[in-house]
C-alpha cells in the first residue's frame, strides 16, 4: 500500500512535469511537440534521476556518519564543484560541456582530499574526522573561489554561481543519457551495502561483531555516495534539502532497514525534485525560480515538523 502510493506519487510527478510548462502546449499535441520531447521530457527525467540519487546519497551518508543532519553536500563536494566551475571560467576554458566537467573534477578533488583526511593517522574514516574534514575542505574551496572571483576580471564569473545553484535548465537527452549510464553503479554498490549499513547504526564495534567488514563498507559507501553526488552537481548544480529531508521522511514511513529505505528514498527524492522543478518552471512563468529555492521552501517546513516530532517523541 505504501509502495503503491509512492509509485503513484512518483508517476504523477513525472506526468505533471511533462504536461505543465510555461509554454502552452495543447494536450492533443503533447506527443508531437518539439518543446515536450526535447525540453520537458529530458528535464523531467533528469530531475527524477538527480532527486533520486540525492535521496539515496543522503540516506547512505546519514547512516555512515551516524548524523541525522548529514546531507550529500556536507562533505565538501559543493565547495569543490564551485571552485572547479570558477577556475574553468577564469581560465577561459570554452566548450558546451566545460562547466559540468570542471565542476565534476572539482567535486572529485574535494572528495579525494576529504577521503585522504579521513584516513590520516589511522582514523579509518571516523565520522567525526569526515565531517570536520568535509566542512574544512568546503570552506577552503569557497575561500579560494571567492578570491578568484574578486581578483579575476572575467565578467562571466558572477554567473558561475548562478550555474552552481542553477538547477535543471541544462537538461537534454545528452545529460539524461550520461546520468542513466553512470548512476546504476554507485546505486548498486549502496544497495548491496544495505545490510552492513543497518548494522552500522549499532556502532562500528557491534557491527564488526555481527559480521560486517566495517572498514570496507565505510569506504565503499563513502565513495559511492560521493560519486553519485558529484554527478548530480555536474548536471544540475547544488540542489539542497532533497538529500536531507527525503531520507528522514522515508525512514519515518519505511523504518531503518536500508534494503527498503534506499529504494524509497530514490523514488521519494525523484518525486520531490520533479515536483519542485515543475513549480519552479510554472509558478512565475515566463520567469523561473531556482529549483533549490523551491526544494528549500518545501523542505524546510517539512524538516521543522520532523524536528518537532522527534523532540516530542
Amino acid at each position: 500500500m505504501k509502495w503503491t502510493l509512492l509509485v503513484v506519487v512518483a508517476v504523477l510527478a513525472l506526468v505533471t512535469s511533462v504536461i505543465l510548462g510555461p509554454a502552452a502546449v495543447p494536450l492533443g499535441e503533447l506527443l508531437h511537440s518539439d518543446i515536450v520531447w526535447n525540453l520537458r521530457v529530458p528535464r523531467a527525467l533528469l530531475a527524477f534521476l538527480v532527486g533520486g540519487s540525492l535521496g539515496v546519497a543522503g540516506a547512505s551518508l546519514q547512516a555512515l556518519v551516524r548524523n541525522p543532519l548529514a546531507d550529500p553536500f556536507l562533505l565538501g563536494l559543493s565547495g569543490g564543484a564551485g571552485l572547479g566551475a570558477v577556475v574553468a571560467i577564469a581560465l577561459h576554458v570554452s566548450g558546451p560541456w566545460a562547466l559540468p566537467i570542471a565542476a565534476f573534477a572539482g567535486a572529485l578533488a574535494a572528495l579525494g582530499l576529504v577521503y585522504r583526511l579521513g584516513l590520516i593517522g589511522g582514523a579509518a574514516l571516523d565520522p567525526r574526522i569526515l565531517l570536520l574534514g568535509g566542512v574544512a575542505i568546503g570552506a577552503f574551496a569557497a575561500a579560494v573561489t571567492t578570491a578568484i572571483v574578486s581578483l579575476a576580471d572575467a565578467a562571466e564569473l558572477r554567473n558561475a554561481f548562478l550555474w552552481l545553484w542553477g538547477g535543471l535548465s541544462g537538461a537534454s537527452w545528452d545529460s539524461v543519457l550520461l546520468v542513466v549510464l553512470y548512476i546504476p553503479i554507485p546505486l548498486a554498490v549502496l544497495l548491496a551495502a544495505s545490510r552492513p549499513l543497518d548494522l552500522l547504526a549499532l556502532g562500528e564495534e557491534s557491527a564488526g561483531y555481527l559480521g560486517a567488514d566495517v572498514e570496507v563498507v565505510k569506504r565503499r559507501v563513502y565513495l559511492a555516495a560521493s560519486l553519485l553526488t558529484a554527478a548530480a552537481v555536474a548536471v544540475s548544480g547544488v540542489i539542497g534539502f532533497v538529500g536531507l529531508v527525503v531520507p528522514h521522511l522515508a525512514r519515518l514511513t519505511w523504518g531503518h532497514r536500508h534494503r527498503v529505505l534506499l529504494p524509497a528514498a530514490f523514488l521519494g527524492g525523484g518525486a520531490l525534485l520533479t515536483f519542485a522543478d515543475t513549480l519552479a518552471r510554472t509558478a512565475v512563468a515566463p520567469r523561473e525560480l531556482p529549483v533549490g529555492v523551491v526544494t528549500a521552501l518545501i523542505g524546510v517546513p517539512v524538516f521543522a515538523l520532523l524536528l518537532r516530532r522527534w523532540t516530542i517523541a
Binding site: D34, I35, N38, L162, W163, G167, S169, P286
Partner: protein, 247 residues
C-alpha cells in the same frame, strides 16, 4: 565635452576613447579603491550610482574630495548626466549641445522604425537569463527597430525557462560577445530547440559599445539597426531557395 585632458584617473574598465588608456587606472569601479583615487589628487570624482559606490562617495567626501554619483542605467539618464558634468567642469555650453543629442535618442519625435524583427537578449545560458523591459538593451532594441520578446518582464534581467524562449520564438538571439564568436551554448542540444539558435541567427554585440549607456549610445543604436537591416536583406536573398517550385 572636451575635458579629456583633465582626467587624472580611470577604472580598469574605462577603455574608450583609446586616449583614455593612457590615463592611470585606479582599479575597479564598484567600489573604487578610495586610497588609489585620493593618491591622484582629483578635484572631482565621478561614480556610477550604485550600492557600494555610495559608501565610497561618503568616504571621499569625508577626506575633502568632491564626489558626484551619476545614474547611468537607461537612455534617458544620459542627458541629465551630461548636464551635471558640464556644470561641474564649467563646460556648460558644450555639455548642453551633447545633452541635446543624447535627449534626442529617447524623444518620441524621432521617427521610430516599426519593429520588424524580434529579438531575445540572452546574457547567460544555464540557467537562461534574459533582458527584460526595465533595461538599457531593451531600449536599444526598440530604438533600432526590434522588439524584445521578453519586454513583458518588468525586471532589467530575469531567469526564464528555455521553453519560454522556444515558445516566444525570437528571430534573433542577441548576446554580448567581445570575442565576436557565437556562444558555446549554441552547440548544446537543448538550445537547438530554439529556432534562431538552429538557424544560427545570432546578433553578437560588443560589450564595450552595447553593454552600458554612454556618449556612444547613438552609435550603438545605428550599429544595431544596421545589423538587423543587413541580416534582413540576407534573409530575403535566401528566401527564394526555400520556396517550393510549384508555388
Amino acid at each position: 565635452m572636451g575635458a579629456g585632458d583633465r582626467v587624472v584617473g580611470r577604472t580598469q574598465w574605462c577603455d574608450y576613447p583609446p586616449a583614455a588608456l593612457a590615463v592611470p587606472s585606479v582599479g575597479d569601479g564598484m567600489p573604487p579603491n578610495v586610497e588609489a583615487v585620493a593618491a591622484r589628487h582629483p578635484d572631482l570624482v565621478v561614480l556610477y550610482n550604485a550600492g557600494p559606490n555610495v559608501t565610497a562617495a561618503q568616504q571621499l567626501e569625508r577626506i575633502g574630495i568632491r564626489t558626484v554619483l551619476l545614474d547611468m542605467n537607461r537612455l534617458e539618464d544620459l542627458g541629465p548626466a551630461t548636464r551635471t558634468l558640464g556644470r561641474l567642469t564649467g563646460l556648460e555650453q558644450r555639455a548642453e549641445s551633447l545633452a541635446q543629442a543624447m535627449d534626442s535618442l529617447t524623444s518620441t519625435a524621432v521617427d521610430r522604425p516599426r519593429p520588424s524583427s524580434t529579438v531575445a537578449f540572452v546574457v547567460w545560458d544555464n540557467p537562461p537569463i534574459i533582458i527584460g523591459h526595465g533595461s538599457y538593451l531593451d531600449q536599444l532594441a526598440a530604438a533600432a527597430g526590434a522588439r524584445n520578446v521578453f519586454s513583458d518582464v518588468t525586471a532589467p534581467s530575469a531567469q526564464v525557462s528555455l521553453e519560454s524562449i522556444v515558445a516566444r520564438d525570437p528571430e534573433w538571439i542577441a548576446v554580448l560577445s567581445d570575442s565576436g564568436t557565437v556562444p558555446a551554448f549554441a552547440k548544446r542540444r537543448e538550445w537547438r530547440a530554439v529556432r534562431a539558435v538552429r538557424e544560427g541567427h545570432f546578433l553578437l554585440l560588443q560589450g564595450s559599445l552595447f553593454g552600458h549607456p554612454g556618449p556612444r549610445s547613438g552609435e550603438a543604436i545605428r550599429r544595431f539597426r544596421a545589423m538587423l537591416v543587413r541580416n534582413d536583406e540576407g534573409a530575403q536573398h535566401a528566401a527564394p531557395l526555400h520556396q517550393a517550385p510549384n508555388r
